[in-house]
Symmetry: C2
Subunit: 440 residues, 2 copies
């Protein structure tokens, strides 16, 4: 195997704030961005690509942090790296000085996600398999060795983790065939429901979603209660009462306010309320869940690490676990969260959207069904139709399903032309930002 | 009032790893560091100084982040800034793009701490008062307006916060006099107990602590159980059984391991076990507390924000709350945590040590006693005798008490010679790092 002989880090930002794509009650003007890492090897045909997602300012900080972590990989043998990703993860995660800046949260953690996402992409490419296939071909022992189980043993021991994986091992091949036969892994769309859209656009996008086969749609709420009631009424008019309607408050409420506001929307029968309050508030989510049942509680896109998810499950605080593929520190931590969720019987419905998150989560959802939960019940993965054109292996969504990725890797590679154009602040787009650029 | 017309950010690192000062089971080789911010005004006599604390690598990232936040203050009127620090705090905290990188945790949060610490230092200097006095002269309404109460209302409403402060308002002057009469605010020392020290050094430092009037000492544990038992036996030999002996595991254990290990040290009658597991694990701390009582549970130096502390209190997870003056986002968030602790009746014993943390926490502890808790029961603030010589107004500890600071400000200003020498990587120390430098 070749050595890793160079690393690149790119601060890539897309001017999404100009079109109000992605607007919600908390995140009003995001420029969807990636702190993007490339691991080059001596073999010009073999590189690893990975990123984490941010919404603009500060992406330079994350990119610089990811680069600091990635340079430690220069000179390492690809074979060693990809054969024991758990060892590399633990080495980087436990850096005795960088750890102080988290620990295991915020900038240092998402920067580690960017680097380890690139490592997993490299591992899948080296094996000439899509990432989901690489994971589904690993033994229970290999998966548990890769997983970060630290601080989890009061909820999930190593033996319990192995038992969950072993129980599903015989059915893996059958479930791959089942997914292929049904057209892929089920998803839902958030494209319709951003706060910044007009009523006409909302109505049109909801109708398109229904026509495209989606059985779940999601609307942003939380800025203004009468407005929310008006928009939810429009949504039910368009999608009817059989399709599932999710609502997402993006953390704008305190706990008592969340309970009151969601109560005032209950007549529209939301399937779940997403991010009703601070993502750190485990006990708050538990209190909201008790108060708003049977409306489900969902959170996780800002779930900082596996210790938070462990507690959300222990406290019976959530009905749906929405892990984020670029906020958790890559597959190593994500395997642990899937195992926790399986132990507690809570469905994982990953967060996606942004830039590139859909490309990543499709692999994770397939892995969950094939090797961990063995269930599609109450499971649906987010999909947003933005920015896929910048990826060399964009996700393929048809009739409300993510079609199983077939190319080697984690689908994380961007086109060089996109990198060149949207690198901040020196890429073509940003260095010559003009009115006509902004409108393209 | 003048305008803020320039900001400076300095990455300052002290080579503490060379002497094993600060070594513990998790943080083996810290280089105590400060991401240091200076707010210059048009008045050459008036500047604000603030910092956050790290332990080495990554301090550049925090410094760069703090600078990005601080530059937004250039051109602002000092009067406006210092008269409504709550408004400025909320503006910076809620930056709609930077928020994604936390939210309210990790690098972006501690960088905000550095900037807002400088703002509070500036406010105290502008008022010609030490920070504790500035806070103790604020009305309950002013304090609550400055405090960050977001996401807390299920545990502490604005009215409850006001009621706590109003109840103690009449006694403020009396308690200032009481503290002055008793020689200051009580503290304990961690200087003796680092893991890297030899038995002889441990014995000598413990004896010195007792001789200096300390009634509490703290030892690091968690690397090796027989070693811990041996060192605790030495400690009890030296300090006897009347003085309080605290132990600190710096997050090395999972929950079941913490319960078992602390049980094996119970015969040495520890006053508290500090950081037994992940700082994020609220429910884990609650489980440990139930299992190891009557040994107390203490945590907080890695407590990321007020939402975490709210839950630690709601879950009855801690006996002692050890907030950190440079990890919480400055006085704005710290006031909220003191009010929460008062509501729940839990004593606050702030974390200190590192570089400059002692200088900051002395102000906070005085404020707590005078204006919030009105109690010294079970309260003792950490003190470590390191690196004070780099500050222009170093803390003055006598007979186990922090003597009340008298100079205007938050005691956060460093000597220019220290900045010049220890700036990384271009300061005199780092640019000419030699064996003789390392030994000085």
């Amino acid at each position: 195997m070749p050595f890793i002989d160079a690393v690149e880090a790119h601060d890539i930002r897309f001017p999404t704030s100009l079109s109000m794509d992605g607007s919600d009650a908390m995140n009003k003007d995001g420029d969807y961005s990636a702190a993007y890492i490339v691991l080059r090897t001596e073999d010009p045909e073999l590189s690893g690509f990975g990123f984490t997602f941010t919404i603009g300012r500060g992406n330079d900080i994350v990119t610089a942090t990811a680069l600091q972590r990635a340079v430690q990989l220069i000179g390492r043998d690809v074979d060693t790296v990809v054969n024991d990703p758990g060892a590399l993860y633990r080495e980087l995660q436990s850096d005795s000085q960088m750890r102080w800046l988290g620990p295991e949260k915020g900038v240092v953690h998402i920067a580690l996600a960017a680097v380890m996402n690139a490592v997993w992409d490299l591992a899948a490419r080296a094996a000439r398999k899509p990432l989901w296939r690489l994971l589904c071909d690993m033994t229970p022992e290999q998966l548990v060795d890769a997983a970060d189980l630290r601080y989890l043993s009061d909820a999930l021991t190593r033996e319990e983790a192995l038992a969950i994986l072993r129980a599903q091992e015989p059915g893996r091949a059958g479930r791959v065939a089942e997914l292929e036969a049904r057209g892929g892994y089920p998803c839902y769309t958030t494209s319709a429901g951003w706060l910044g859209y007009s009523d006409d656009k909302l109505r049109r996008l909801l109708q398109e979603a229904v026509d495209s086969g989606y059985r779940h749609v999601k609307l942003k709420v939380g800025a203004d209660l009468p407005e929310d009631r008006r928009r939810l009424a429009i949504a039910r008019e368009v999608i009817g009462w059989d399709a599932k309607l999710m609502i997402d408050a993006n953390q704008v409420w305190d706990v008592p306010e969340a309970i009151e506001w969601v109560g005032a929307l209950a007549e529209f029968k939301p399937h779940w309320i997403e991010e009703p309050t601070s993502p750190d508030d485990i006990l708050g989510h538990a209190a909201i869940r008790r108060a708003v049942a049977p409306i489900g509680v969902a959170t996780g896109e800002h779930g900082m690490n596996r210790v938070l998810f462990k507690q959300l499950l222990q406290a019976e605080a959530i009905d749906y676990l929405q892990l984020d593929s670029a906020r958790l520190a890559s597959v190593n931590e994500i395997i642990a969260v899937y195992l926790l969720a399986a132990k507690f019987g809570v469905p994982v419905c990953p967060h996606a959207g942004g830039v590139g998150l859909c490309e990543l989560v499709q692999h994770l959802s397939v892995f969950d069904f094939v090797a961990v939960s063995a269930s599609l019940d109450d499971r649906v993965t987010e999909y947003v139709d933005h920015l896929h054109e910048h990826f060399t292996d964009p996700c393929d969504v048809r009739d409300g399903n993510y079609v199983l990725p077939a190319k080697p890797g984690y689908s994380a590679e961007m086109h060089q032309t996109s990198i060149d154009r949207y690198s901040f602040p020196d890429g073509g787009y940003w260095s010559s930002r003009t009115r006509s650029d902004a409108e393209d």
